[in-house]
């Protein structure tokens, strides 16, 4: 029983990381109708940048957050400006961002080679650290990512619900033409939201770099689980993404302990299929921008 509890708890925490990776995609897809596959490359690129800066300057990798988050905010802004200029719609976004994904993946392989990279334990004390609560050790990297995801999900939910920017985002998501007619600067809203999406990808990259070895092909392994979280949570729904991440992580963690690791992906996708059949609009649609 202790093992199951441990599996669920760590699953919940790693669900936070999934949610953090999914937040940007969810917002971008829900509000801007951009299915941004390049988001996965941004996460990995952020992890590489954190790795490189950490080993080059021998600094605390967590400090690199203050570097990569603003940089990737700008990247997100530029990407959205490009989408706007190129008149990229929902379907085209799949193709365009897939191309960007491929280009960035090849670029990362060219710069850092195909080999594994990992911040050494002498510089990364977080990787093996844990906080014990109630006799259950909570690994620091996933604990931090869970806290970050929770904070962002709640704050973004409040922003979307209670601020002018949030109302503008929802208006853009529901009917861009009408939003424009009512004086909403839709382009500015989209650019800002895309910037936030980029910043979230950067933050996810920080926690990836803290917790595991990275290599150019790593991003591919995130596709299935992150899109499960996005769809399960409901498009544009930040709290939904967090909830979905927690559910998927906990279920996978419990399945790993009870039936073995091979059952974890099976359980994840059974949940996704069940959600698509019975809750295709997502778990918490009332908070969705879409």
């Amino acid at each position: 029983m202790d093992l199951v509890v441990q599996g669920i708890v760590t699953g919940v925490l790693i669900g936070g990381l999934y949610a953090l990776m999914a937040l940007g995609i969810s917002l971008s897809w829900g509000a801007l109708k951009i299915i941004n596959l390049a988001h996965f490359s941004f996460i990995l690129l952020s992890a590489y940048v954190v790795y490189q800066l950490t080993v080059t300057f021998e600094v605390d990798p967590l400090l690199m957050t203050i570097v990569v988050v603003p940089v990737f905010f700008v990247v997100g802004v530029l990407i959205q400006m490009f989408f706007h200029w190129a008149k990229v719609d929902e379907f085209k976004s799949l193709i365009v961002t897939f191309g960007i994904f491929i280009i960035l993946q090849s670029g990362m392989q060219t710069i850092w080679s195909a080999d594994f990279r990992r911040i050494g334990s002498e510089l990364n004390t977080y990787a093996s650290g844990s906080l014990t609560v109630g006799g259950i050790p909570l690994p620091i990297p996933v604990l931090l990512s869970f806290m970050a995801a929770s904070g962002i999900a709640v704050v973004m939910s409040l922003v979307l619900a209670r601020t002018y920017f949030g109302k503008a985002v929802r208006a853009v998501a529901q009917d861009p033409e009408m939003a424009r007619a009512y004086g909403v600067d839709t382009r500015r809203v989209a650019v800002l939201l895309s910037g936030l999406s980029g910043a979230f990808s950067a933050l996810a990259g920080v926690f990836i770099a803290l917790g595991q070895a990275i290599y150019p092909g790593l991003a591919v392994s995130w596709f299935g689980i992150v899109f499960s979280v996005v769809i399960l949570g409901g498009l544009g729904n930040t709290v939904g993404a967090l909830t979905a991440g927690v559910i998927v992580g906990a279920a996978a963690g419990a399945a790993t302990v009870i039936w073995g690791p091979l059952a974890a992906p099976l359980v994840t996708f059974v949940i996704l299929i069940a959600a698509l059949l019975f809750r295709p609009q997502g778990l918490l649609t009332s908070r969705s921008v879409a």
Partner: protein, 450 residues
């Protein structure tokens, strides 16, 4: 979101994910040359003179090659999930081709290496070998990297009767082609010899584990070593441990693409075996050790099958981890000055390729040896006749730089004996610790770790 829309986009995304997983981000059949670029093939046409004796002394300059280049074709996983290790084979191949051209070429002719990207996909590897042989009409082929790719490509080589040297394929029982030559000398039954080597090494410390736990990647090669050949279930690390009286207290199989190691770490901690046997690849052990550290658990002894050596060294808690190797860059393996020279060239090539861990170990050594097989087969046969080359190797074996003389036993599916050794992380480096005669100076097995 409308439900039908969700399904539609999910389907598209799934297809794209599969496409990315398959292609790993590069175009189909992108060529790389002996000089390591990713453009169209270029010839390496250094002058040479004819040589007819097997060349184990690669420092011996024999003149400039001339005439039509001998084109050697092959694939490597330049992209995709095997790319981290394939990059080592690419760098080593470039060094070998450069050296052979500097030292007179092959049969007096310059050598050109045409390597295509199989994208870590066995079907793609098979298709590209078909193309190399039938369309590009290469003179010789060298195997790709990775068990699946090698297995797929070997079938093509067999169909066209090409001699097929290859490195680091793990399903030894599956390779029945009469002209395949593995440069990874594990013997035909590594599922028996490898685990027993590990257990002998542990027991050489004077301590014998009473309990043992297994955490095994579902990859076919690691499954074979852990559980034996599927049809016979003969041998395997689990059965061999039981034969020695170790109590198996944990058996966990995990998928190749796993993102959450914490539940497995918890299971290991709960079982608390005296020794943990990880059937790991890539960074499996590294990730598991990190997850175990995070819950405050440190095994008393650990072994990992084929983890990448570099990342493991940088992992906190890796001290004392054992693994198998066929070569390490320390005495007595580097007693020969030529080994030192070639190893230094490979170190530089790996560094130039941006690979962080540049020591020559199993992958680089096996890669070099596969090239030596091909070179000696052609020079021994005195021609590029595939059957003559095959016969030459079967009759004469090969003289290799990193492993000494190798024989090929047809009754063992051309495998030689298992040349594996046990290495261990000690003081931040990898050192061979068993058998004793191959151990690094002043090094021996440390068990238990704590």
């Amino acid at each position: 979101m409308k439900s039908h829309k969700g399904w539609r986009y999910l389907a598209i995304i799934t297809v794209m994910a599969l496409l990315v997983a398959a292609c790993g981000g590069d175009g189909e059949g992108s060529d790389t040359t002996a000089t390591g670029g990713t453009d169209a093939p270029t010839d390496t046409t250094e002058p040479m003179t004819d040589t007819t004796e097997p060349m184990t002394d690669t420092t011996e300059a024999t003149g400039e090659p001339s005439g039509e280049p001998i084109r050697i074709g092959g694939t490597l996983s330049l992209t995709g999930f095997l790319a981290p290790t394939a990059a080592i084979h690419e760098a080593v191949g470039e060094v070998f081709v450069e050296r052979i051209n500097e030292q007179g070429g092959l049969l007096g002719r310059p050598v050109e290496w045409q390597v295509l990207d199989d994208e870590s996909v066995p079907d793609q590897a098979a298709a590209l070998y078909e193309r190399l042989i039938t369309e590009d009409e290469v003179d010789l082929v060298l195997g790709p990297y990775g068990t699946g790719n090698i297995t797929a490509a070997m079938a093509v080589a067999e169909r066209y009767g090409y001699v097929f040297p290859h490195h680091t394929a793990s399903l030894t029982y599956a390779y029945t082609y009469a002209c395949h030559f593995s440069s990874w000398s594990t013997g035909l039954h590594p599922n028996i010899t490898n685990p027993n080597l590990v257990y002998d090494a542990i027991e050489s410390s004077g301590s014998t584990p009473e309990t043992i736990g297994f955490v095994i990647n579902e990859f076919p090669g690691t499954q074979f070593i852990a559980y034996g050949q599927p049809e016979t279930d003969e041998g395997g690390a689990v059965a061999e441990a039981e034969n020695r009286g170790y109590d198996v207290v944990l058996e966990v199989a995990f998928p190749t693409a796993i993102t959450d190691w914490a539940p497995i770490a918890s299971q290991v901690a709960d079982a608390d075996p005296d020794f943990l046997y990880i059937g790991g690849l890539g960074v499996d052990a590294s990730n598991l050790i990190t997850a175990m550290n995070a819950i405050g658990y440190s095994p008393r002894g650990m072994f990992t099958q084929w983890d990448a050596p570099g990342p493991l060294l940088g992992t906190e808690g890796s001290n004392g981890v054992m693994s198998v190797t066929i070569f390490e860059q320390h005495p007595p393996f580097i007693d020969d000055p030529e080994v030192v020279e070639v190893a230094a060239e490979i170190n530089q090539a790996l560094a130039d390729a941006g690979i962080p861990f540049t020591d020559v170990e199993t992958q680089a050594a096996a890669s070099w040896t596969a090239w030596e097989y091909l070179q000696q087969a052609a020079e021994g046969a005195g021609s590029l006749d595939q059957q003559a080359m095959c016969d030459y190797l079967l009759e004469n074996g090969a003289q290799t730089l990193f492993h000494g003389d190798i024989e090929f036993f047809p009754d063992q599916q051309n495998y030689y004996v298992d040349l594996s050794k046990i290495k261990q992380v000690q003081d931040g480096g990898w050192y061979v610790v068993y058998p004793e005669e191959f151990a690094a100076p002043d090094r021996s097995v440390i068990y238990p770790i704590n």
